[in-house]
Subunit: 360 residues, 2 copies
Amino acid sequence: MTETDFPQIRDDAAPSLPPILQAMTGHRTEHPPVWFMRQAGRSLPEYRQAREGISMLESCLDPELAAEITCQPVRRHGVDAAVLYSDIMVPLALAGVGVRIEPGVGPVLDHPVRTATDVDALVSRGPGDASAIAKAAQLVICELGEAVPLIGFAGAPFTIAAYLVQGGPSRDHLAARAMMHAEPAAWARLMDWVADLDADFLTAQLAGGARAVQLFDSWAGSLSAADYRHHVAPHSIRALEGIGRDTPVVHFAVNSSHLLAELARVAGEASDHPVLGVDHRVPLDHALASLMVERLEMPLQGNINPALLFAGDEALHAEAASVVESGRRAPGHVVNLGHGVPADADPDTLTRLVEYIHSL
Amino acid sequence: MTETDFPQIRDDAAPSLPPILQAMTGHRTEHPPVWFMRQAGRSLPEYRQAREGISMLESCLDPELAAEITCQPVRRHGVDAAVLYSDIMVPLALAGVGVRIEPGVGPVLDHPVRTATDVDALVSRGPGDASAIAKAAQLVICELGEAVPLIGFAGAPFTIAAYLVQGGPSRDHLAARAMMHAEPAAWARLMDWVADLDADFLTAQLAGGARAVQLFDSWAGSLSAADYRHHVAPHSIRALEGIGRDTPVVHFAVNSSHLLAELARVAGEASDHPVLGVDHRVPLDHALASLMVERLEMPLQGNINPALLFAGDEALHAEAASVVESGRRAPGHVVNLGHGVPADADPDTLTRLVEYIHSL
């Protein structure tokens, strides 16, 4: 991709597109569009009720239930997009890998993948049937129509592979970070396989009607830029290859202030409408400046400090206003938190936050 | 502090100082000096044996045992410094705060500090008697003499306060990050109190013979630069105020590539011999460049990727050579890992790594 491929800011409106897609495709919007990572989930009483007695992965694979949960925050908060309720482990579950989501712990694998032999055994599996995912997306579109688009999502290959190699959550992902150096060929095979599962998962969501996708690389922040570039980026690009260059792609990792250009480059390689998600650590105008140095300026998503959800509306709204102001310099800005909605956030605080952002 | 106060590189040797103190005070050394964060601890069989049946805090408060554990990695690996075996929670324990270190979990507080009233109740406590800490340091000096200096350490006020407010470990430290905005005055009182405990803890180590100190701010990386500057930095400076400007101060936080200048500034405010610890995410020459922009160049400590400890000696030694090469541009370089020694690291790998680094 050459630098001139990046979207330039356009002052003409694109009135046929919902505001969030306008922002993602480099147009200014009248009011800032907003959604929240993990908006569908534990912070909502109606979610906790819908999930009662049903495991996480079961609920993701039940199209009616997944669609219901996806629509809940749109009804309640009036956010500008739905994001498909799912889990980054779903592609593994569809492929028949033994994985469960343990409450309070996270994903746990029956068989950690530690050696080249383990990798070879795993990658002989096909991707499985993603029709339940496509169906869930369709049901969301049936309810929400065209005005509030659906964002699809997947965990990036590194994050999924980190769970596979470690066998569960870890603070440092040392086993995965060691494998990329100790067994680079096996690591690449594992990452390509996960990328292909991701591609299937994302394609199903787009086939069901999603209009944009977000690739979450939760753990990429643990890597140096050199490790990311050599052992991760090519596989993340591969995961996005099937989606079509017209689909906006948001690429996001927490703790990644040292990787912003690398993450932006991956999104730009995969899509004509790349968007960089930024966590709460780096002000949007600083993030933009660091992209401009590399001629990678693109629309930004983010980055209200989630801690302010617990500090009262005055402090929270001041933070939101500052984020919106900082985002005005970007060629497109989708407001979001700098991280997912905490489970104990007050839903009413979020609803008032959306109202406030829409008033700006 | 003005820019001219920062140490300039000196090509004259300072032969009266051990190599690690030469590097910390801005002198070039013949061979790179090296120590490892968490070198005294779970990776060593002799440590696991010495600790058998004794709780973490008990072992820290027993001068003979703490000194023995401190000396173990010096005997085994031939590192250039000892670091006092202790825990960042020890100052709280000395002040009579109900805290225990749960194996596999971390520090757990009997009473989380959530409100301004909780803060006021806590800060009425005095710092307690740190003589056991000074005694442990003295015993280390008795064994090691002058050639291998002892580094003292303390957890920075933010990290300790994050545990106090949360009541235990957390991924995001949201309760502490919210309190600094919701209750800024109470937050400042809490941080000042922790800073004063830290100052006492560090002073005891120096009184016992430590020649340098490291302030660890494990969780500072979760903050934006603005939050760090306003709600954390002044208190970290206060924690270091009693140590004397001649004492070298290493300031370190993981995940802090967006905070390097802020961390360096704190060390430079507190000491005439500031050193910035850098984690494995940012190459040392990049870190140095970002400090130069702010006229904050100083000796660096770091930053071998700990994942390479599990990738074979060839990859590990290549990484070490690259770190040493990158560190040559800094006005002084202390080799270390980019994070603490993992509990399951092979001690022999570490011993061979020290030999290799000393051969460079």
